[in-house]
């Protein structure tokens, strides 16, 4: 719960968090080391200095850290734990659904666990989706289109094998498809983070919600265009939001574009924990105003009402969370301090 300086309680649903193991013991090769090193550079680059973590903690943090940083020290009421496997890089996977579910089952009213699959696995991917639904009753999945799989270095949402998976998701009621579309890293000139495949998939699967993490940056214009055309495409603020500290004016330009094009009902807060912690992000977002010249250029404002939508109400709608009921449920529970 975030309490505003005026004493108003704001429901916070953190749309993008992780419980990973990037420790040297789990790294399968140099790629595993370089992957977590790259995350750590994101962390140290955009975090306020007093929020920096030691490298060893960043590589592998505990359940207690996760719970504390999100719900005790942090303002989150709920968090979505996304799964990212990277089995080519990590012996036991980077952040599997089993690992996420192991912590979520201890705090069922706090966490939503999303699965993941790789359409390139063909029939096995379909079986895996069934298994995740039956075992964990997932409501969403996280797609990482630049994941390596043997000789393949990426895939597209509109690949025929991916369509078979999305048909199954639709049938099973797995309605929220989170897609990582972020800074150009792994892809070759067949850019795995190009956003145009979202357009096709979102058109062909109207029942599914497509949440584009990182808003496709640095392809914000393409993303905005698609999200404006397609009513079922949303933008996740992870990576964009931390700029609020280091380059607030730049963040203002991004949020102004998003508000202008896709509007306040389709933008979702996400800390990308443990790359960043939600406390400072939420505090800074609540205190933030778009500078007058940018606001008037685009004719938009970041009002308290809009901030409340971004911080939790929009994601709650996608996951059918009854905010009032959940708030009451959480208020009745003591804050649990995870025993280690």
């Amino acid at each position: 719960m975030f309490t505003t300086p005026e004493g108003k309680e704001i429901f916070v649903l953190d749309g993008h968090t992780h419980f990973w193991d990037g420790s040297p013991e789990n790294q399968a090769n140099i790629h595993g080391k370089q992957f977590i090193d790259c995350f750590y550079a994101y962390h140290s680059n955009l975090s306020p200095k007093d929020q920096l973590w030691a490298k060893a903690k960043f590589e592998k943090y505990t359940e207690a850290d996760l719970y504390n940083d999100l719900f005790v020290d942090g303002p989150d009421d709920m968090a979505i734990l996304n799964s990212t496997y990277l089995k080519d890089f990590y012996k036991n996977g980077f952040n599997t659904i089993e690992r996420n579910a192991s912590v979520a089952k201890k705090y069922p009213s706090r966490f939503i666990v999303n699965g993941a699959f790789d359409p390139r696995d063909g029939e096995k991917a379909l079986e895996y989706i069934h298994w995740m639904k039956e075992t964990y009753d997932i409501k969403g999945v996280k797609m990482y289109t630049a994941e390596w799989n043997g000789s393949s270095k990426g895939w597209r949402l509109d690949d025929p094998d991916a369509y078979k998976c999305f048909e199954l998701c639709d049938k099973l009621g797995i309605r929220n498809i989170h897609v990582h579309k972020g800074p150009t890293i792994i892809p070759l000139n067949k850019d795995a983070f190009d956003v145009h495949d979202v357009d096709h998939a979102a058109t062909d699967f109207q029942n599914l919600n497509w949440i584009i993490e990182h808003c496709g940056l640095p392809r914000l214009d393409d993303f905005c265009w698609i999200a404006t055309q397609e009513t079922n495409v949303y933008g996740g603020l992870a990576v964009a939001l931390p700029f609020i500290h280091a380059r607030p004016r730049y963040f203002a330009e991004v949020i102004a574009e998003l508000l202008f094009w896709i509007g306040p009902d389709k933008i979702l807060f996400g800390s990308d924990y443990a790359i960043w912690t939600p406390k400072w992000l939420v505090e800074k977002l609540w205190a933030f105003q778009i500078p007058e010249d940018i606001a008037s250029e685009r004719g938009v404002q970041l009002s308290d009402e809009i901030k409340e939508k971004i911080l939790g109400l929009n994601a709650a709608r996608l996951y059918n969370i009854d905010v009032a009921a959940r708030k009451a449920e959480l208020a009745a529970q003591p804050i649990l301090i995870a025993a280690e």
Binding site: K55, I185, P187, K190
Partner: protein, 263 residues
Amino acid sequence: MNAAITIPLPDTAARLDQVWAALDLVTDPELDEPITDMGFVEQVAVDGEGGVNVAFRLPTYWCSPNFAFLMAQDIKSNIDALPWVTRSDVQLLDHMSAEEMNAVVNAGGFFSDVFNELTKGEDLKALREKFDVKAFQRRQEVVIKALQAQGLGVADIVALPLAVLKATNLGEAERAKVRYLELAHTKGILGDLALTTYQRAPLTVAGFSEYMSLLRSVRINMEFSGSLCRGLKNNRYLELDASGVLASVPPALTTSTQAEHCG
């Protein structure tokens, strides 16, 4: 490449200066920033026979290989264009595709030689063109905003003669203006008018606001990449240990440049 015997070899300091000047002209295509400004160049060495070795490092191990390849190729061709250079070697360090890429770039090969399976034989011409368009648009936005700050209205801006822009000092935006004009000249874009689209269409008063909106979105994307890359580069080897000490721990340079002596 010229035979070394016919070209007198400038002294070591002059050769190093010339190499650095050649490197200043290489830009990161995604950011339109010189690689020397970005701090990508790690080491430059010259030897007594007209040989040059350059080592460079990008902000992450995962930086897109096609962008990396374009930079490596540009480094090599700019160095090879110096009249006294008899041999050049470019090494990209700590990158997932470094080994294959370095071998192909130094042999004068193509991107598709490294990544044939993934590129289906396409080369990077189309990508270069795409980045030229973005660089042109980004530099042009700086110029237009500077002109607006000097009090020019839309009607004046769309009709501004090239000769007038050349003669106008834009203050802080002067460097962007020079780079805008250079690129426009190289691409043969501008005629009498100072400001047209990349496709050489004149700007119009009616379409001005929409055009500026396009330039803004190009800038927002490029600024994101530029700011992120700069930050990641500065933080790449920085680690905080458990006792709270922040230190940089880059791996040692292990390329052939280490064994080279200057001059």
